[in-house]
């Protein structure tokens, strides 16, 4: 049995992430937690994030969770979602500029809007798989995932999936034991549940 720690730092929709994990893996222990001991003892880490990046970064450091989370993300299979993903990059333009944890290469910028390209990018869009990865198992290339974000990473050496909204942006990144996605697998119906199923059985390499 795996123990998966869904990091609770007071932000975002943790309920839907943990419900999706429980749905695909009833026998694993899914902990929505901010307790250091539980995070230390977990086998896998999920870092969700909804809202403004500044609040997310602050909430994580206010609770003194950032160091624990970073230490555990160094080795355990980790999934970062939406703003959770953006926090792992170098920096973001949001909230007048914020530094990220710099675990993945790339910067986050405001998506430019036009009358036909609406921002936030909200809704279902296709993810082009740039290369093979365990987490893409049984997920057809160009599957629709659910997105909701106003900022995006436009290029990265760690890119493993791209999506187009006006222009192309990076919708998934992978490096060693970390997989990070801009979309919300917990809101992406069948393909999203398959993605979590893959994460549950992923060894992180």
């Amino acid at each position: 049995m795996n123990t998966i720690a869904v990091i609770d730092y007071g932000m975002g929709n943790l309920h839907s992430v943990s419900k999706a994990l429980k749905k695909v893996s009833p026998s694993d222990q899914i902990l929505v937690t901010s307790k250091k001991s539980e995070i230390e003892n977990s086998d896998k880490i999920v870092l969700p994030g909804v809202g403004a990046i500044k609040d997310c970064m602050e909430a994580l450091s206010n609770n003194n969770l950032d160091q624990v989370v970073l230490r555990n993300m160094a080795e355990k299979p980790t999934l970062a979602i939406c703003v959770g993903m953006q926090m792992l990059l170098e920096s973001s333009e949001e909230n007048n500029g914020i530094n990220g944890f710099n675990l993945l290469e790339g910067k986050v910028r405001r998506i430019s809007s036009t009358s036909t390209v609406k921002v936030p990018h909200m809704g279902w869009n296709q993810v082009l798989q740039k290369s093979d990865h365990y987490l893409w198992t049984d997920i057809p290339n160009n599957s629709f995932f659910y997105f909701v974000h106003g900022y995006a990473c436009d290029s990265s050496v760690d890119a493993i999936g791209t999506t187009c909204h006006g222009s192309e942006f990076i919708s998934a990144l992978a490096k060693k034991n970390i997989f990070a996605v801009q979309f919300h697998p917990e809101k992406s119906q069948k393909v999203g549940l398959q993605f979590y199923k893959n994460f549950i059985s992923w060894k992180g390499n």
């Binding site: 309920h15 609406k118 921002v119 909701v148 919300h184 992406s188 119906q189």
Partner: protein
Amino acid sequence: MTVAKRIIPCLDVDNGRVVKGVNFLNIRDAGDPSEVARRYDLEGADEITMLDITASHESRATTYQTVEKIASEVFIPLTVGGGVRSLDDIKNLLRSGADKVSINTAAVENPEFVKAASEKFGSQCIVVAIDAKSINKNGDKYEVVTYGGRNKTGLDVVEWAKKLEDFGAGEILLTSMDRDGTKEGFDNQLTKAVSSSINLPVIASGGVGSLQDLVDGILKGGAEAVLAASIFHFSEYSIKEAKEALRLAKIAVRD
């Protein structure tokens, strides 16, 4: 490829039951919210909106339970509205499993609330609902109304939508109160007036009676998403049929 257009069934929920009335009369019971939501999910709905139409102080606990139940069974986005008045309301709804909240009257009464909410939770989860009524015979001027159309605000709909964009709203749920419940189709002139004035996604609502109405809301109204209640609740049409109609009209939809 860009983002797909969305079909959003709407559940009007009163004391834990889905209801739908025609112009607020003849409210018919349309089932348990989580069962209805699950059916729509299986049929391919892109998102679900739940409006708590009682929204009295006492009913909040019921609402949170309903949201939690839907969110544990349905893995597509869920927007919840009705009586959202404080940052705590938003926090509680998001914690219960809502992905977005819809603010209506509280935004009109205090636009700064929209700003505070989007700063705190991010624009992407702040939907502002605008109820609009035509104020001249040509039907090209619209006023924002509240309390089911009983209260006029004097606000011009297009100006209001622009202000909401400035204040950090992430999406506009635009309902024609003239068409709501009539099955005559969306007021596409209204939708177009708003969708062409702002860069936020606009959800068209109010008046759907046929699948062609959904197509027109997107092609003529410029809506990013179309919302409907009664045509789906009473199985006149399935979501699958609605998607097929959009696809035939060459509109990008999720498979």
